[in-house]
């Protein structure tokens, strides 16, 4: 998918409720070469109407054995509903995709098709 983004000269910006510190950590850990934006107070997320109130997250202090949770503190957190938006060079929104299951990412084929339709 990154080839299509390069082909159409599209910049990726990924925003989440992660703090600057967590975002920097994730960017380094996953070797990401695009911009991560931090919205820890969910201001932008709320502005766009993308707040998910009941998402469950394992909060810090979990005890793991080989990365498998043995003693967890699951808590209800607020976070963004996974949403992808394609914006053209005039600042107009051309495509929106929202996940109705927060475990899943946007389907790559769908994104590729949308990019092609918008900028092809």
């Amino acid at each position: 998918m990154s080839q299509d983004l390069k082909k159409y000269d599209v910049e990726i910006m990924a925003l989440s409720k992660d703090t600057v510190k967590d975002a920097a950590h994730n960017k380094a850990r996953d070797g990401l070469n695009f911009t991560l934006l931090s919205d820890p107070q969910l201001e932008v997320i709320k502005q766009y109407g993308l707040e998910h109130h009941k998402a469950i997250e394992f909060s810090s202090g979990s005890f793991t054995l080989f990365g498998i949770p043995l003693a967890l503190v699951p808590s209800v957190k607020k976070m963004a509903i996974p949403t992808s938006i394609i914006i053209d060079e005039k600042g107009i929104i051309r495509w929106i995709d929202q996940a109705d299951d927060y475990r899943l990412r946007s389907n790559e084929d769908r994104i590729r098709a949308a990019l092609h339709e918008t900028f092809g």
Binding site: D39, I45, A55, P82, I87, E89, G91
Partner: protein, 136 residues
């Protein structure tokens, strides 16, 4: 008889732990199953084995000892947690404040280097803006 019970409980715990591990491994790879039927079945199996194992001594007129209760509880809690989390996976979409054709809503934020960011800097650029849930 004690070995059967212990074997069942251990098997149950092993199934639960391995299923959890496989599921968690699929997350960074980005191929989480949309309908994780196999994982659900395995978690139910693991919990089932653990419960059968821990109640096994009762059939002999005995009682399960701590050596059975602890791993059985662990298996049941972890398996139960997995199944419960899956019931909560649907997101409440429908409140989104923008539609196709709208201008993007101007916003301010910070990038991962701590620099201020404003969406005005995106003028003239094509952007794929992804809102995601954040790190695990």
């Amino acid at each position: 008889m004690a070995t059967v019970a212990l074997g069942l409980v251990s098997a149950g715990l092993l199934v639960v732990v391995v299923t959890w591990g496989a599921y968690l491994a699929s997350i960074p790879k980005g191929n989480v199953a949309a309908r994780p039927v196999g994982s659900i079945i395995l978690q139910l199996l693991g919990v089932g084995l653990a419960i059968v194992g821990v109640t096994w001594p009762l059939c002999e007129g005995g009682a399960p000892g701590v050596g059975l209760i602890i791993p059985a509880s662990l298996a049941t809690m972890m398996g139960g947690l997995f199944l419960f989390l899956l019931t909560q996976r649907k997101t409440p979409i429908g409140n989104i404040k923008v539609s196709v054709g709208d201008k993007l809503l101007a916003f301010a934020s910070q990038d991962s280097d701590g620099n201020s960011f404003h969406s005005d800097s995106l003028a003239g650029k094509r952007v794929f803006l992804k809102f995601f849930r954040g790190g695990w």
